[in-house]
């Protein structure tokens, strides 16, 4: 009996005793010249946690980025596939348990996951503004906010994406604006659907409709306004419910994520796909999943764009290595290779006009392929992401007013 009591006490003590707080190392790191950070990181291992569902992106990281890290800094890059929501939870648990040495050095993150992580104190920083490539090539104005939430140097820009629709040019002619899309859906029952929010892509689709049917994005940029939302949201529910009976499966069910929609589109079950990556269709053609006649289009009412980032957890064992990787990712070489559709096709997050002329030329020479729209079409319709409080309210409201109504 005594022994059991003793064991329990030890367990209990292990559970409540605080672990020693982090040293002053972290603050020092933020003020160290970058060359010294590189020296500190040389010969180490960096563990990068990122979404793992895109084979071509995995491929690009495992081969191209890993090889560059090895060649330039003698750093071993380990990619770990994990969804952003999952690693934020993992970090929350580790924070609560007082674990000061985790196993994640860099995260691929943005939007509400960034907001949740930063508010819970899960991120190391600010570090982004000390990275040489950020200082040289990134337009500071373009990365002050992430879904309306201030970045403040806690994440480094990594790529840019914009919402496009996909269609098979051998089968249909795309509508020009949202009204045209609605007319098309009603004229062709069962041939359109969108992924069920909170799927990233489906959620972006309803935000676009929200902007279009409530008179533009400007009014929401100032931050959360409950009265405004209560006044405007019903217009969105009305639009979505009006088209619902004409959707795939009569709107009784929705594809659970954008990959499911991709599959429906690739099998020809629906006429339109959608993606938050302008070159997604081109990659899919190269991969052999989409027909060679697949193309993309945007609606005149606007196409949401956003920037995605990398961040370093508070308990990263190799913060210097994480900073070196974040800096490499925003370098001209890596951004260029990421831009090429046979690699990934993700749009650059740096300001191309700040690059040396030779590099600017290299960006202009990239052949995006016939399915990807150029910046002359994407630029004029680009609209910013909504502050994340609206995003969460829209996702919840969709479930209540559209799915379960």
């Amino acid at each position: 009996m005594k022994r059991i009591a003793l064991t329990l006490m030890i367990l209990w003590a292990a559970l409540i005793l605080p672990v020693a707080p982090a040293g002053a190392d972290d603050t020092a790191l933020q003020h160290l010249p970058f060359e010294q950070i590189v020296e500190k990181a040389r010969g180490t291992e960096v563990r990068w946690y990122m979404y793992g569902g895109w084979a071509h992106v995995n491929d690009w990281v495992d081969t191209h980025v890993a090889a560059e890290m090895k060649k330039r800094y003698d750093i071993r890059l380990v990619r770990v596939p994990m969804d952003a929501g999952v690693f934020v939870n993992k970090l929350l648990n580790e924070k609560a348990a007082g674990k000061q040495k985790g196993n994640i050095d860099l995260l691929w993150i943005n939007g509400e996951n960034f907001k949740n992580a930063k508010e819970a104190g899960l991120l190391f920083g600010p570090f982004a503004d000390t990275l040489p490539n950020v200082k040289k090539y990134v337009d500071p104005a373009s990365v002050t906010h992430d879904f309306g939430y201030p970045v403040e140097g806690y994440e480094a820009p990594y790529g840019r994406a914009q919402f496009v629709f996909e269609y098979d040019s051998a089968q249909v002619t795309p509508p020009a604006d949202l009204a045209g899309l609605k007319a098309w859906i009603m004229a062709n029952p069962g041939r359109f659907t969108y992924p069920q929010p909170p799927d990233f892509t489906g959620s972006a689709f309803i935000r676009q409709v929200f902007y279009a049917v409530t008179g533009g994005h400007d009014q929401y940029m100032a931050g959360w306004d409950a009265d405004l939302f209560a006044k405007k949201a019903p217009l969105l529910w009305k639009w979505l419910n009006e088209v619902e009976p004409y959707l795939w499966q009569k709107g009784r069910t929705y594809p659970k994520d954008s990959a499911t929609l991709d599959t429906l589109f690739s099998r020809g079950e629906v006429a339109f796909g959608m993606s938050y990556h302008p070159s997604h269709a081109q990659s899919k053609i190269i991969e052999g999943s989409y027909p060679a006649t697949a193309r993309t289009f945007v609606l005149k009412d606007g196409a949401i764009f956003n920037t995605h980032f990398t961040a370093i957890p508070f308990n990263a064992p190799n913060k210097a290595g994480g900073m070196v990787l974040a800096n490499l990712l925003i370098s001209a070489d890596i951004q260029l290779s990421k831009y090429r559709p046979d690699q990934w096709g993700d749009f650059p997050a740096l300001d191309i006009s700040r690059l040396p002329e030779a590099d600017q030329k290299r960006f202009q020479d990239v052949d995006l392929g016939p399915a990807t729209l150029g910046s002359e079409i994407l630029g004029p319709v680009a609209v910013p992401e909504i502050p994340s409080a609206y995003l969460e309210a829209l996702e919840q409201g969709w479930k209540e007013h559209v799915l379960d109504k």
Partner: protein, 267 residues
């Protein structure tokens, strides 16, 4: 005549149930663009295979890791269950039914319910992000399968062998390891197979407790399954299918041989 015909139709049904999906998987792995209404794929591509070949090191590493911690989980559950199962098979005591029911609950409640809390404790005792942690959490919710199989094994075996061995002067350890253990092998195999499959195909727990430090095959496979790269997902699914089948075939053959050698089974 009648009998062969019946066997024939059974075989056809089995083939439809088990072989046809495999054929479809093989086709999809070679033709990612196979779409309705084509009965036969219009175009074949080796991109999926190509990806697999380029990444074989990482994928095989994950496979080896999954295989390893699944086998360790089998060993851990065996260790946990051997003596309790003997007690449950041989003794009656008040509250036995209730206790047995309680012992089986981990297989019935979703692992989510206790995993989050355990993750916190595992972090505290430094088991999170380690292989022992993963083995322990997997053993904690898959041991009921081993337990049930062992209880049944002890019951079938009866008490006679043990009493006989004791009368001949064997020590308790000798009885356990040289008399009972060999007789229990079929039950261990039965329980162990289920535990192995449960551990091998578990995604969430390995992910949570392993924290990405313990590579697993499901961790590689699942993100691709939910992506739209069907050919790659098909290839990995085929591997996922092949490995346990291979394990069972090898085990079956070696067991048959062992039994025959000992003369415990007529040839």
């Amino acid at each position: 005549m009648n009998r062969t015909a019946r066997h024939g139709s059974t075989l056809v049904v089995l083939a439809l149930l088990f072989l046809l999906p495999v054929v479809v998987l093989v086709l999809v792995s070679l033709a990612p663009g196979w779409r309705f209404p084509d009965v036969w794929p219009a175009a074949f591509s080796l991109r999926g295979v190509d990806f697999f070949i380029r990444h074989h090191e990482k994928i095989l590493m994950a496979l080896a890791s999954s295989f390893g911690f699944s086998l360790l989980t089998v060993a851990a559950t065996l260790f946990m269950c051997l003596l309790p199962a003997a007690v449950f098979a041989r003794h009656r005591f008040p509250g036995k039914t209730l206790l047995e029911g309680l012992l089986l609950t981990p297989a019935l409640v979703p692992p989510m319910t206790f995993a989050m809390g355990l993750h916190f404790i595992f972090i505290k005792v430094s088991l999170a992000d380690t292989i022992p942690g993963v083995v322990l959490i997997l053993a904690m919710f898959s041991y009921p399968y081993m337990f049930r199989a062992l209880v049944a094994g002890f019951q079938t075996m009866g008490e006679d062998y043990r009493i006989c061995a004791r009368n001949l002067g064997a020590s308790p350890a000798d009885i356990l390891f040289r008399v009972e253990f060999p007789l229990l092998v079929p039950s261990i195999i039965a329980g162990g197979s289920v535990v192995f499959l449960v551990a091998f195909s578990e995604y969430f727990l390995v992910f949570l407790i392993g924290g990405g430090s313990v590579p697993s095959f499901t961790g590689t496979l699942f993100p691709l399954l939910s992506s739209s790269n069907r050919s790659l997902a098909a290839i990995l699914t085929l591997i996922f299918l092949f490995l346990p089948v291979l394990l069972f075939v090898v085990m079956d053959i070696s067991l048959m041989r062992a039994y025959r050698r000992k003369g415990m089974m007529s040839a």
